[in-house]
Symmetry: C2
Subunit: 312 residues, 2 copies
């Protein structure tokens, strides 16, 4: 298994990324190798600083970098030799099994759509965020930012692909799929959620449990939380702020610590023909290390192949 | 000043409501009286249980009750002698200065629109929720549930009426008005927030500070948080769940305690010709007591008159 990591993406790149890779390298199962993509000399400088011998890490040189503020489509076409450009080239050619980056999220999303492409039948790929639950498990919420505006049929499909993803990633039978809404009753909600509810209810391939509310995000009511990318994004970020508040206020709790973005380190783009994970721009070494751990699980789950099978 | 309270509204009514009123009665400034509306015999039973002599509480009998599940418009027209029906009649006739209820939210919203009516020029009245901030202050977020779908001009108006409400309720100059969004940059967001941003920016009567994100809900970035009733509702409920999580997990923090719905006890309907507060269905005596405290402040602020002046 080859896990590709963009060394140049993120506010603290390449330092934090390479340090995270060094930490991950010692913990990865022996069947996995990391492919680190970026400016070779910069990467080696950090290896040397850390007295690191990359026995299970390969370095692939990339001359260019797509910066955080760049326009995704333009940047990708103008910089084929950027770390993101090369990452998707390797992923498309199946030279690597997953591509992870803390860089320009738009470029990662567009790059996935242009290279490995959406699975046939997928209306819109989504970003699935991992949401810690109070009992120690995880749920996924999708979308958390790729599609700010979603039509009911798009949300309904999120329920289906999210269910398959959760089934194989968390290894659970019949994941509980819920619609994020402003009331539990079927008729509650915005025009969009009102129209989405019956579509989810009719779908016999998923275990739809109805609406959940904002207060249920962490309470282990659902394994898959369906919502548009606007709502998902604001909820996800508010949830992550819980950890920040605990640090500022000086209290400690094991569950609250799990709301720290670092504890998972990344989110998955699902609905595309391959494995892609994206991380926070501010990613620290620990965040990158943890993302690589989840990347390993994601490759093993083969979730994207199961999604493609289910749809075709 | 007369503060009307619906004794019959809420899951634990009339017991919890009347007990909350008893608690509030001993703390209210002498210029204020509470007008408790509901079944007289039930109310007196609870007074007697508590050995309470209502020196600053008047009881107004209401034969009927609008139940939580009833259709708002139907219930209001069929039950003019319900506690909600009578509360709005007294408010309209200026027999009381504010009407508060933990009952059927829809009936409270529709009752306000039918009796005291929207202020001329208001497109949609909104429910403004009080959001505790990490520095000990409060912000308001509107809408938190009355209008799940909002057009840009509605959101822009929320910015204006929210600013006036915050100015007079919190007694602050030039409240900072922010748009809840999925990125800080002007061009970020859903189609609706993208179209709302320039409307808020152009409005010289408010101090618009730009977009904020979900992570900023509690961090004292804004005094007025503008959002649609869907987003506001899910964020508000997730925020309130922080307190529930702290109780389940067994940690204590003064700020997290403020996220308990009981600490404010109610939300205000703004954009109507009078003062209306609504509370959680599950309201406890403490929640009701605290809502009455805020009701007193709201009446003194005369915010709704200032909104009417600004618009006309």
């Amino acid at each position: 298994m080859k896990i590709a990591v963009d060394a140049m993406g993120g506010d603290l790149a390449p330092q934090a990324i390479v340090e995270g890779v060094i930490q991950a390298a010692s913990e990865l199962p022996s069947e996995a190798r990391i492919v680190l993509i970026g400016r070779e000399s910069a990467i080696w400088d950090i290896f040397n600083q850390n007295n690191f011998t990359p026995t299970n890490v390969d370095v692939v040189h990339a001359e260019d970098v797509i910066e955080m503020g760049e326009h995704p489509t333009k940047a990708l076409s103008q910089k084929p030799n950027s770390s993101i450009g090369i990452g998707f080239k390797l992923l498309k050619e199946k030279e690597v099994d997953i591509f992870c980056s803390a860089g320009n999220t738009g470029a990662m999303h567009v790059g996935a759509l242009f290279s490995i492409k959406a699975i046939e039948g997928i209306i819109r790929p989504a970003i699935a965020g991992f949401v810690p639950q109070i009992d120690g498990s995880y749920s996924i919420m999708l979308d958390i930012g790729a599609n700010a505006d979603c039509k009911p049929e798009v949300l309904a499909q999120f329920g289906e692909i999210g269910s398959i993803f959760a089934q194989y990633t968390f290894q659970i039978d019949k994941p509980r799929v819920a619609l994020m809404n402003i009331g539990e009753e079927e008729q509650k909600g915005s025009l969009t959620t009102q129209a989405t509810y019956p579509l989810l209810k009719q779908n016999k391939r998923i275990n739809f449990i109805g609406n959940i509310e904002g207060k249920d995000l962490f309470t282990n009511k659902a394994d898959v939380i369906v919502t548009d990318g606007f709502t998902g994004n604001v909820l996800f970020k508010l949830g992550e702020s819980f950890y920040e508040i605990s640090k500022q206020r000086g209290f400690n709790d094991e569950f609250v610590d799990q709301t720290n973005y670092e504890s998972i380190g990344g989110s998955s783009i699902i609905g595309v023909n391959g494995n892609v994970m994206i991380a926070h721009g501010i990613s620290s070494p620990v965040a990158i290390k943890n993302m690589i751990g989840w990347a390993y699980k994601q490759v093993r789950s083969k979730a994207y192949l199961h999604i493609a099978q289910a749809l075709n």
